[in-house]
Amino acid sequence: MSNQLVMFISQIFNGLKIGSVYSLVALGYTMVYGIIRLINFAHGDFIMVGAYVLMLTAPVIIAVGMPGWLAVVPAILVCVAVGILVEKAAYKPVRERGNSMTALITAIAMSLLLENGGQAVFGADYKTVPTIFNMPSLTFGALRISGDTLLTIVLGMAIMVGLQLYVSYTKRGKAMRAVSEDKEASILMGVNINSTITLTFAIGSGLAAIASLMYVVAYPQVSPTMGAMLGLKAFVAAVLGGIGSIPGAMIGGLTIGLVESLTKAYIGTITAGVITSAFSDAIVFGILIIVLLVKPSGLMGRNEGEKV
């Protein structure tokens, strides 16, 4: 294999790896948005919370002699607790009293609160996370694909499929879909909306914890603002795939990951240096703008007419 081809394939795998992280985060956005029509700006910061929990618990768990990835269990518990707390303490009262703009401002404020809270507790600096697991890498001639890349991609796929099955076939999942379709009607059908919304937040936050594990395995450092950009890009992924759609979040996440990694690698040579890799964030947002203007419902979303 030529060097260029090897480089291209490894870029693709890089893109799929970060894309899987985006997908997991985007799933959280998409579920919450689907059910209460709120962009949960704080969702990216749940990842930050999860990453700090991993940083603190992984050494303890490894020292006890258990496999390091078990640290994801406390991370999930903490993230779920934070998610439910955020929903109960802030979003629910605002949802009952205000309009969609006040809810969005609350979400932004919650994101700032988590970021600055993290900064007050842990300091603003980057901190390194100990190696959580070592996977053997696969080698095909010159091509070398690290094990955790494959694991990330496979795990992302598995979670997406599992979630899709859960939402389609279980009673709770059907309740979720019913609430996102029509709140009033689902109350009449005996669905407890409050517990359904709480469950949605819990699942979304749990996914954020798993995403934080994937993220710190790939980039082993944490900082209080790590979730902000990650969350925004995952939101772009959710919009691209069609907000409210689970396979859409997956496809959107992988697309954004691939676009990001390929533009970083090649955009400079393609445009002869006019657009450099420094533009990669701008390109991601450019995609968002084009999608919103051309097909606001996203790739897999349904088109909903405006109700009078």
């Binding site: 009262p93 703009m101 969005l104 609350t106 932004i108 600055n116 420094a278 947002f285 703008i289």
Partner: protein, 390 residues
């Protein structure tokens, strides 16, 4: 409702006198040496914040659309103004400082306004959450592009360097000039809000579909509001550039925009008084609490959540301060109620309550339907009616 003792002209005069008095006070404080450079700096920052907040209030409070990209326009205005100022010097055009300052900030405002229209036309097809996120995206794109422009870094223009802060901007901003620019901005935005256009914009906020059904050109008005907002954000940026003397692309980032959104929301969405008070308050407060600066954003975010839970319309709601109302109150307290037979002119200027009583019909959009034909539309809708919107 008691009638005002002031005629329209008299209440204009009272406002003008109050502004002049404020200016004389400012001059007295500055000239007598009571205000140090530090205090003057805070006043300058407060003026910039007032321009930003009141103009953002037009989009958030009056139009009811949340944008998170205002600092993108501020940055465009700042960079354009700084480069214009540098360009004038480089061309060797002789000009006194004040006119160079004014020309450069107007250029900054106009360029920001052009970008506002360019961004607004596509973006305003969306609303609510999507508009917020798309303006955020535009802000980030502007930041990245500025970062990578060769002429907008280093010493600027032909001596520019990519990826650096723009430095060496002449610090021409003069507190007195900036004060009057702020006054003009506030007066303009206030009058716009009360004009026929402003009432139409409020109708769009309250119910877009009903507004468009009653013949209001919603797209045109939304883009107009967006452009006005961007223009003043550009002006504020131009002042900022020539006050600080150096610019960093990071100023276009969305966290900065959120600072101004916080000011608008605290003050009250739709209240210019609220915007001014919270812009001044939130500029001074961090200076007083320097020791706790680490926890500033922490406190802000908690306060913001509490405001959203307990008073979603902001501290002032849509209440406006009015001098003629204060005068009336003082007058009536002294002299009791006016005799019923004295014809009293209604001062419609700067009085929320009077506008409502002048419109006299139930102020909902449906009545705007019947009124818009003869050039009127609904006044402010009472807050309790506008909380719950599907």
């Amino acid at each position: 409702m008691k009638k005002s003792i002031l005629s329209t002209k008299q209440s204009y005069l009272a406002c003008a006198l109050a502004v002049v008095a404020l200016f004389l006070l400012l001059m007295a404080v500055c000239e007598s040496g009571l205000a140090s450079t530090y205090i003057k700096g805070i006043m300058m920052t407060a003026c910039i914040a007032i321009i930003m907040t009141t103009s953002l209030n037009l989009t958030i409070g009056v139009l009811g659309q949340l944008t998170l990209g205002c600092c993108g326009f501020q940055a465009i205005g700042a960079y354009s103004a700084a480069l214009t100022s540098k360009f004038i010097v480089a061309q060797g055009i002789a000009m006194d400082d004040v006119s160079r300052f004014l020309i450069s900030i107007v250029v900054g405002g106009v360029i920001a306004c052009i970008f506002g229209i360019m961004v607004g036309i596509p973006a305003l097809r969306l609303h609510g959450d999507y508009l917020a996120i798309i303006t955020l995206g535009f802000g980030e794109i502007i930041r990245v592009i500025i970062q990578n422009l060769k002429f907008a870094g280093g010493l600027g223009l032909s001596k520019g360097q990519q990826g650096q802060a723009l430095i060496g901007i002449d610090r021409l901003a003069n507190l007195y000039v900036v004060f009057w620019i702020t006054v003009i901005t506030v007066v303009f935005l206030f009058m716009f809000g009360r004009s026929r256009y402003g009432r139409a914009v409020k109708a769009i906020r309250d119910d877009e579909i009903a507004a468009s059904a009653s013949g209001i050109n919603t797209t045109y008005l939304k883009v107009l509001v967006f452009a006005i907002s961007a223009f003043f954000a550009g002006i504020a940026g131009g002042i900022f550039a020539q006050y600080i003397g150096s610019l960093n692309p990071a100023m276009a980032g969305w966290l900065n925009s959120i600072n101004y959104v916080i000011m608008v929301v605290f003050g009250g969405m739709g209240s210019i008084t609220g915007s001014i008070v919270s812009a001044i308050g939130l500029t001074i407060l961090p200076e007083l609490l320097r020791a706790f600066s680490e926890y500033r954003m922490l406190v802000y975010s908690i306060a913001l959540i509490l405001v959203m839970i307990f008073r979603p319309q902001g501290i002032f709601g849509s209440w406006e301060f009015s001098i003629s109302r204060v005068i009336n109150r003082v007058f009536y307290r002294k002299h009791g109620n006016p005799p019923a037979d004295v014809p009293v002119p209604v001062a419609a200027v700067s009085q929320t309550a009077d506008v409502q009583s002048a419109v006299s019909q139930p102020a909902d959009v449906q009545s705007a339907v019947s009124q818009s034909a003869d050039g009127q539309s609904a006044g402010d809708e009472p807050e309790h009616n506008r909380k719950e919107r599907p």
